[in-house]
């Protein structure tokens, strides 16, 4: 087994204060490795999205240690965490979070711009990226005129174009029909051959694509299975 790309150790997350205080995560240990598609499954309120946010360095845990690409994150400033996300992590969101005023190609190109890559080469990379998922003909189309499946593919390419070590996806198929959900999972499974992919989901249609399934409930990991090795 390779070194984990992201590793959470003893992750505790407490949300709210006073009587509204909730222990969303109660000492979670989880490592995500290159070359596998990990599904993090659990019922609503189990803490899976909170864990994804913490592993993705957008949320700081109450306690515990997060290591991304060999670097511990607990002492990093918000700007350093942003740099970490920029370099190592690609996100795919449930509701895509594409920029409605930018075309499909510009949405992908934006990630390169944030990384300081601009000009013709950035435009070519963005276009090639859309071609990889078969929607280069939609490059100049605004997200509002794309189908849900097309939007999610743009979102996946936006996450991939910066060549991150890991893709973190939050309910990537939740808003999609069966056909589009299947297509999106095929793309993520393909991506997982070369890098780490972790998807939070409670969609059973995603199970056939998983290399590893981690189950979480009530803020704790309650089980793990590797369906393909069985």
């Amino acid at each position: 087994m390779t070194e984990p790309v992201i590793h959470g150790e003893g992750v505790v997350m407490t949300l709210g204060e006073g009587e509204a205080r909730v222990n969303a995560l109660k000492g979670v240990d989880l490592a995500v490795h290159t070359g596998e598609l990990t599904l993090l499954m659990g019922p609503s309120g189990s803490g899976k999205t909170t864990l994804l946010s913490i592993l993705g360095c957008v949320l700081t845990p109450s306690s515990g240690v997060i290591t991304v690409a060999g670097q511990k994150t607990h002492h990093l400033s918000s700007e350093a965490l942003a740099a970490m996300r920029r370099a190592q992590i690609g996100f795919v969101f449930q509701s895509y979070h594409l920029f409605p005023t930018l075309t499909a190609q510009e949405n992908v190109e934006l990630v390169l711009d944030v990384r300081g890559e601009r000009g013709a080469s950035a435009r070519k990379r963005a276009r090639d990226s859309l071609a990889a998922v078969g929607i280069e003909h939609k490059a100049a189309v605004l997200p509002g005129r794309l189908s849900g499946g097309e939007q999610q593919r743009v979102a996946i390419e936006r996450a991939l174009v910066g060549n991150p070590s890991i893709i973190l996806a939050d309910e990537p198929t939740a808003a999609l029909d069966s056909e589009n959900g299947h297509a999106v999972m095929e793309v993520l499974a393909g991506v997982a051959k070369e890098r780490a992919v972790m998807a939070v989901t409670h969609d059973p249609r995603t199970l056939p694509f998983a290399d590893r399934i981690v189950r979480i409930e009530d803020g704790k990991i309650i089980g793990e299975e590797r369906p393909r090795s069985e």
């Binding site: 999205t49 700007e79 509701s95 409605p100 005023t101 930018l102 944030v114």
Partner: protein, 374 residues
């Protein structure tokens, strides 16, 4: 991409963007009018002094402005000519007198008695020449005041202090801040109308000999003429402007109007940018989540502010130029100079950048984790 994103954000909220542009436009037009009037008034006030052929002015002590003149005793010119470094001394007669129109009505004018050349000879002559001052009863007036003076043009006559004067030439753009028309005439005719003696004058205009130090000559003159005040041309110009604009409160009112315009503009732009940022907060959170620096996000907002400034200023500048054109020949001309235009551009940019601060403060507090909650 920052520019593209900023531009699209603005145009995405089309009606709001139009509102922003109208706000910026009106604010800058208001500032342009106020500062243009200030500049116009300044030029009107200082025009006479600035056009005089003099390095130094000898004035009666306590003289606050060109129009507020008291008479010198009469012997000063000869004393001044005897001072080392003085090349020439020209007498000027200035006084408020009554102008009686051909129809019998009367109005107050400021007569300016000057030699035909040098001194304070009229400029911008559009009909006739300065030499026409020497024609019998000849006076030169500005075409702006023809109606107020009850005459139609060159050749018409009126009366000053019961004596006939004839319009011999016309100038363009020599207007008074006090709206009291200037009437140019020879020094001798002015003396006769006012009742001065042959050597009496209101001002002495002193030219310093080439190579002489103006300040040194000024000190020597002051020592020789202890009952008068000797002031440098630019000093007297500034004194006249300060008197009319600030002791009367007119200048403060104009500047206050300009500041008010800037405040209103800033509030409008700030409100728009803040609302726009709030509407696009998910996008800014997404930017933060995908690793954009705070600086990158701030640039997007500042770029929105600068685009608003550029478009708003362009609209305001076009309207401003139109206003300048329309008022050019009026008694209250609005003046727009290149430095003022650049200053207005700077003010517009500053206004919009300051306006962006509230929006920047809003995005600075963005928690990128919200992207997982929506």
């Amino acid at each position: 991409m920052i520019f593209t994103l900023a531009l699209r954000n603005l145009f995405h909220d089309g009606i709001r963007f139009v509102g922003t542009l109208v706000g910026i436009g009106f604010a800058i037009i208001l500032v342009t009018v106020q500062l243009g009037l200030y500049l116009g008034f300044s030029r009107q006030i200082t025009g006479m002094v600035d056009h005089a052929d003099a390095d130094l002015w000898v004035v009666r002590k306590g003289t606050t402005s060109f129009e507020q003149a008291a008479t010198l005793d009469g012997g000063e010119r000869q004393l001044a000519l005897a001072v080392d470094g003085v090349a020439s001394v020209t007498s000027l007669g200035v006084s408020f007198l009554e102008w009686k129109k051909p129809n019998g009505e009367a109005t107050t004018v400021v007569i300016v008695g000057t030699p035909r050349t040098g001194g304070l000879a009229p400029w911008n002559i559009v009909e006739g020449t300065a030499a026409d001052l020497a024609t019998p009863d000849g006076v030169i007036v500005d075409q702006t005041y023809l109606e107020e003076l009850g005459v139609k043009g060159v050749g018409d006559t009126a009366q000053i202090e019961g004596k006939t004067v004839r319009v011999a030439a016309l100038t363009k753009g020599i207007r008074a801040f006090t709206t009291t028309p200037y009437i140019f005439m020879t020094t001798d005719r002015a003396r006769a109308l006012v009742g001065f003696g042959n050597t009496e004058a209101t001002y002495l205009l002193v030219r310093v000999a080439p190579g002489e130090n103006v300040e040194a000559v000024k000190k020597r003159l002051a020592a020789r003429l202890p009952d008068t005040e000797v002031v440098a041309q630019d000093h007297f110009s500034n004194r006249s402007r300060d008197y009319w604009l600030f002791s009367t409160g007119a200048g403060f009112a104009l500047i206050a109007g300009a500041i008010l315009g800037l405040i209103v503009g800033t509030v409008i732009v700030a409100q728009t940018l803040y609302a726009s940022t709030k509407d696009h907060i998910d996008e800014f959170a997404t930017l933060r989540a995908i690793g954009a620096t705070s600086r990158y996000i701030h640039k997007v907002i500042l770029c929105q502010a600068l685009i608003s400034a550029a478009v708003g200023f362009s609209i305001a500048a076009l309207v401003g130029v139109g206003v300048v054109y329309l008022t050019a020949d009026s008694v209250l001309p609005i003046v727009l100079t290149t430095p003022l235009l650049f200053a207005l551009l700077g003010l517009t940019v500053a206004m919009c950048v300051i306006s962006a601060m509230a929006a920047i403060a809003k995005v600075t507090r963005i928690d990128p984790a919200v992207v997982f909650a929506r």
